[in-house]
Symmetry: C2
Subunit: 316 residues, 2 copies
C-alpha cells in the first residue's frame, strides 16, 4: 500500500494528462462502463460546510475508488483553505487498500478543472477573445490554467467577492502567461466573454439570462449540492444545448436540477458530456449557439485521476 | 494528522472500553443525536465481495467519521483475510483530516463484537450454560471474546463450514479460557444454547424457526446487506421481542428486512437497541422469552470506535 502526501502528489501530476483521463472517464461513464452510486453527503451549518463522498469503479478494471472531499467556506478565518479530503484506491478483487492519496482536496480541484477543459474543448465557440471567470478562488485559478492546452486565448476577465481576492488572483495568474483584468461587475463578463466559467459556492444565481449573448458557452462547476446555484434557470432555457456531466446526478443537484424543478428545461433536452465525446450526441452546432455545461463532479473523474496517480507511483 | 497501522491500533485497543463506547453510541443514535445517512454500497460478483461505506457524526461533536469496510469471501484463495478497509476522522468544523486508521477492517470487527456484547447484556437470559456460535471465522471468534465481561459462561458450541475451520477455531479460542466443542450440526446449537450468535455471510437461513426453544436469545450479526440472511423469518415471528440496531437501516438490510418483506413481523413491533439501553423500551420480560437482535452495523459504532482510538493516540 502506498500513502502519498500532497507534495508527492503534486510532484507526480506533471507526468499525467488529467484532461485526457477525465475525457476518457466521461466517455466510459456515458457508455455504462462505470458503476457510480449516488453521492454520499454531509451538510454542516455552523460553520457552513459540505462533504461529498463519491465512489465507484469501472467494470472489468482493477480498482475501486472512494473519494472524500469537503468545502468549509469560512476556513479563511482559521487561515485554512476551504477544501480538504483524500482519495482511496482499493482492489476490486480482494478489497485490499492499495493507496491513500492525502491530497487535501487538490485532486478534486484537478479533476474539476480538467472537466472544465473537456467541456470547453467540445462546446466553446471557435473564437474566444476573453475568458470569463466568475469566482477568484482556487478552482477559478485552476480552470484558467487547465484551459491553456485547449484555447489559444490568454486574456481573462475575473470576478471575485472582494478587491483583495482579485488582487491575489491577478498576482498568481499573470505569471502563468495570462493577461488578467479583475472586475466586481459580473455583467462585464456576460457582455465581453464568449467562454464563461463559474466556480463559486453561490446559493443565488450570479449570471442572468437576459445578459447572456449568442455564441456564449458557460461551464458551471461551482454548484454540486441541491442548494447551490450560479446560473438563473432562464439561462438553461435560453441555451441551444444543455450538457450534464451525469444526467442521473444533475437531476438532484446543480444548475440542471434547479432548471428542471422550475420547468425551464425538460429532462429529454439534456445531453451527457460523454455522449458528445463519443460522437453519439451533437455538441455546438453554430457559432451563435448558447451552450451550458453543468459539471456537478462525477465519481468517474475521481476514479480516473486516482488511478492515474497510482499508475505513476508504481515504483515511486 | 495521525496515520496508524493495524499493529499500532491493536496496541491502543486494550486501553479502550469498546463495549461502553458502542453502548453509548446506540443510545446517542436512538436519541436522535447521530447523523447517519444511508449506507453506501458496492457489490462485486466475480470474485464475490461487498463494500460498505458508513459515515456520519454526532451533533455538536468535534469529528465526522467515514468508514470503508469490505468482505471478499474468496480471499482465502489468496491467503488473505476476507475483511479489509479503513476508518477516517475529519474535523466537523474545518473538514481537515485528523486521522487515517489503517485497520484492515479490524475496528469493524471490534465494534461489531462489542455490539454483540451490548445486545447480550440487555437481552440474554440470566442463565446461559453454553454459548452457541454459528460461524467460525474472525467475527465468530471476537463475538465470544467480547462476551467475557458480560457473561460468566465459558462453554461454547461452535458451528463452521468445515472441520479445518473448526479445528483452527478451537486451537485459537481454548487458550482464551473457553471450553469449545465444535459441531457440523447447527440443530445441536439450537437445542443446547440459550444464547446464539450467528456470524456468517450466509445468503440462506441457517437457523430454523421450529428448532428455536423458549428462553433463547439470538444475535444475528452476519447479515448486513439486502441479500444476506442467517435466520428463517419465522424465528422473528416466533420471537417475543425483535430488536434492531437501527430501525431505518434494518428496513432495507438484514434479518428484519427479510421478515418485514415476508410479513413475519410488522415494523411497529421492532424495538431499537438504543431505546432499551435508555430504558425507553422494555428488553427481555421473562426467562422464557425468545429474543432476537439484528445487528446490521450502524455508522454510529464506527464513529464511536474511531473517536475512542483517536482519543487514545493524542500524544501517541
Amino acid at each position: 500500500m502506498k500513502i502519498l502526501n500532497l507534495d508527492q502528489i503534486k510532484e507526480i501530476l506533471p507526468r499525467l494528462d488529467p484532461i485526457k483521463e477525465i475525457e476518457e472517464g466521461f466517455a466510459a461513464y456515458s457508455s455504462g462502463r462505470a458503476v457510480v452510486p449516488p453521492v454520499g453527503e454531509l451538510i454542516f451549518h455552523e460553520p457552513p460546510g459540505d462533504v461529498h463522498i463519491k465512489y465507484g469503479y469501472l467494470k472489468e478494471d482493477e480498482f475501486y475508488v472512494v473519494k472524500i472531499a469537503s468545502g468549509f467556506y469560512n476556513n479563511d478565518r482559521f487561515n485554512l483553505p476551504s477544501n480538504s479530503g483524500l482519495m482511496l484506491l482499493f482492489s476490486q478483487k480482494t478489497g485490499e487498500t492499495r493507496a491513500v492519496l492525502l491530497d487535501d482536496g487538490y485532486l478534486t480541484d484537478v479533476r474539476t478543472a480538467a472537466a472544465g477543459a473537456v467541456a470547453a474543448k467540445h462546446l466553446a465557440p471557435r473564437k474566444v477573445d476573453c475568458i470569463g471567470v466568475v469566482g477568484a478562488g482556487a478552482q477559478g485559478r485552476m480552470q484558467l490554467e487547465y484551459l491553456k492546452p485547449i484555447l489559444s486565448c490568454r486574456r481573462a476577465l475575473v470576478w471575485g467577492v472582494n478587491e483583495e481576492e482579485l488582487r491575489l488572483y491577478v498576482r498568481d495568474m499573470q505569471p502563468q502567461g495570462f493577461e488578467i483584468r479583475p472586475t466586481r461587475d459580473v455583467t462585464e463578463i456576460e457582455s465581453l466573454c464568449r467562454l464563461i466559467i463559474t466556480a463559486t459556492p453561490a446559493k443565488k444565481p450570479l449570471l442572468k439570462a437576459k445578459n447572456i449573448r449568442p455564441g456564449t458557452h458557460i461551464t458551471a462547476v461551482g454548484s454540486d449540492t441541491p442548494e447551490k446555484q450560479e446560473l438563473e434557470p432562464g439561462i438553461l432555457k435560453k441555451a441551444n444545448l444543455v450538457v450534464a456531466d451525469s444526467l442521473a446526478q444533475c437531476i438532484s443537484r446543480g444548475e440542471i436540477h434547479h432548471a428542471l424543478n422550475s420547468g425551464h428545461v425538460r429532462r429529454e433536452e439534456i445531453v451527457e458530456l460523454g455522449h458528445i465525446i463519443l460522437g453519439k450526441s451533437s455538441g455546438r452546432l453554430s457559432e451563435k449557439d448558447i451552450t451550458v455545461a453543468d459539471l456537478t463532479g462525477v465519481a468517474v473523474q475521481d476514479i480516473q485521476i486516482a488511478k492515474a496517480v497510482y499508475g505513476a507511483i508504481e515504483g515511486f
